[in-house]
Symmetry: C2
Subunit: 204 residues, 2 copies
Amino acid sequence: MPRAGLTAAAVTEAAAALVDEVGFDQLGMGLVAERLGVKTPSLYKHVTGQTDLAHRIAILAMNQCADAIRDAIQGRAGTEALARGAQAMRTFVKAHPGRYAAANAARPTGPDDPLIDALNRVVDSWAAMLHGYRIDPDQQIHALRMLRTVLHGFASLEVAGGFQFATDIDDSFTWMIDFIDHGLQETTATPTTSALSPAGPHRA
Amino acid sequence: MPRAGLTAAAVTEAAAALVDEVGFDQLGMGLVAERLGVKTPSLYKHVTGQTDLAHRIAILAMNQCADAIRDAIQGRAGTEALARGAQAMRTFVKAHPGRYAAANAARPTGPDDPLIDALNRVVDSWAAMLHGYRIDPDQQIHALRMLRTVLHGFASLEVAGGFQFATDIDDSFTWMIDFIDHGLQETTATPTTSALSPAGPHRA
DNA sequence: GTCTAAAGCTAATCAAATTAGCCATACTTG
DNA sequence: CAAGTATGGCTAATTTGATTAGCTTTAGAC
């Protein structure tokens, strides 16, 4: 009986492709093994178990996502970087819903978990996109978190089928990014009244 | 041996309390039964299985969430309604992370699934909050989706521990809501350039 | 006071992940 | 090139947890 020549990376890739097709909640060792033309226990020679496998999918996903965003915003800044980066993110998630779900479910196992690096790569991309705007340093962190929130929230809702039967999701997405873009351009502008804090707008 | 006097609702409540404590991914029939002082198979007299139970938790969660928001925005409108509704949402999710996760994982089983009503109740609350702003009818849907995106995204990231070790999450949240509020107030104002669409700002 | 539907229980079944232990393969080294 | 060894993959066994079968007893209806 010939050997399959598997590796941890190969198993992870196969599993990632699987969850993109059938959904992350359908991940199973049996399905992965079948897809690789191998018996289930063989997988344990490459990954320690299903938990480990899911974790590896998450790391793969975040690194691929970070790559996609980096490529999209190459050299651009401000409005254009925001628009392209956001679109790249959304495109990635739509193409790979399963591995994105895996990434959402994953939790770092320790301080030196490679998942942390992968997540940071994505966040760094968002931060790079914000550099084009003249944002008060005190507000940088808030703007960055808003960006994460919006992009993650949209991707998450879309993958989960939250926007049911709607055909104009694309319009809503571009509208939303426009909204953010305009707001960011005015973040350093004249103060008005604040919704939650009596002090003023966009305080830190 | 006396009877426990269970009911589908009681089982669901117990399970919801459980997942809020140990996390939705730790939901198990055994743990729920133990908490109710009953043997595992007894639960099947009230729910058809673990899938059904998770679904019921989701419905409970969304209805409770909708109630909390409704109470928070009682009679208010515009900026104030936005601020209070958003806070109510976040407070609920922080207090009940497990059932919120259940709601995220749930998917309607059909057109008359009560989960749909529950979800709609929440969305209706967001819509009510927007009524205070003078938003172009064509843009209402986009603004509503943005609101969903932001509130879900923030709650989701926070529950998942996405903002690690940060102490000023509250500040970021209020900042973000302020940002949205200001943008919404200007949505009907003078046009500028658009990030993604050549036509103009905030188009439908 | 019986009678019946439903609640809980024990015991059995099933599915899926995981572990144990065996054998063949493919490098490695003399 | 042959022998040695670590590793990949397999079959068989174990474990855990959900689910089902079938029995027994309770609690409300008549």
